[in-house]
């Protein structure tokens, strides 16, 4: 992806989520954490994204013969998540206090929700091309739905966010292909919901 395309995802997909997450942080968070959405931070993130994408391409993708094989939407989301795990948009400030829970989580929440947002944007683009009714339906939802978990468990999102955090803290490699698979199923789940809603509507 060229830098100008990445600029769009940065502006529309990542910064917008980071700013919404910042608004949800507790009062006084400024002494623990600082949101950095500068051009310099974007450049760093792009370098990490491109490194992740190239490594994925080289190791896991068939180069193609007549037509070049491309990295798909879900793996692009996974490479962005990988880059966000390495380049922290919320910078932690030196402070002796124990960090409030919401602040501990903030970079990991950004990884998960920003990659969901990029998925949402790319789904909208697909619908924009193929099916205006579904495009309008998804736009109206202003987000993606996630499956319910079994009673007693964390919500789906919090389970994913905690998994990202624990693997990162224990130094486990980020598995881009599994993350991309999760993105595939989230897209599939939301497509099924939209199809179902429109079918119900047509019956009325």
């Amino acid at each position: 992806m060229k830098k100008e395309d990445f600029d769009y995802l940065w502006r529309e997909g990542i910064v917008c989520v980071a700013q919404q997450l910042e608004k949800k942080l507790p009062v006084g968070h400024e002494s623990y954490v600082r949101l950095d959405v500068s051009d310099a931070k974007e450049d760093l993130l792009y370098i990490e994204y491109d490194r992740s994408r190239l490594a994925l391409r080289e190791k896991f993708f068939d180069g193609g013969e007549d037509i070049e094989n491309r990295i798909d939407t879900h793996k692009i989301c996974a490479c962005i998540a990988d880059a966000l795990l390495r380049v922290h948009i919320f910078e932690f400030l030196s402070n002796e206090d124990v960090l409030p829970k919401e602040i501990c989580y903030v970079n990991y929440k950004l990884v998960f929700v920003a990659s969901l947002h990029v998925l949402y944007l790319l789904m909208l683009s697909d619908y924009m091309k193929d099916d205006n009714e579904k495009y309008e339906q998804l736009k109206k939802k202003a987000g993606l739905e996630l499956p319910e978990t079994n009673p007693g468990h964390d919500s789906y999102a919090m389970g994913r966010i905690k998994t990202l955090a624990l693997n990162d803290i224990y130094g486990n490699d980020f598995d881009r292909l599994s993350y991309a698979d999760m993105m595939f199923w989230i897209e599939n789940y939301n497509r099924a919901i939209i199809d179902c809603m429109l079918n119900e509507k047509r019956k009325e």
Partner: protein, 63 residues
């Protein structure tokens, strides 16, 4: 005892090494394919339409 153990270990190790060698030689057959529309085209469509995202970080995502 030790020689028996060594024999078993060596046989398994040799088998495992052979498996690794052969799959590595054939690694290209496992590589992924995708010839759908490029990400650049998808982004261009959004950008050209002037779309501004209305995405909301819902509370149930993060609490």
């Amino acid at each position: 005892m030790i020689s028996q153990l060594r024999e078993v270990f060596s046989k398994d190790y040799a088998k495992e090494t052979f498996f690794r060698k052969k799959t590595l030689e054939a690694v290209n057959v496992f590589k992924l394919k995708n010839q759908s529309e490029s990400i650049e085209e998808k982004i261009a469509r959004l950008r050209d339409s002037g779309y501004k995202s209305n995405f909301e970080v819902k509370a149930d995502y993060i609490e």
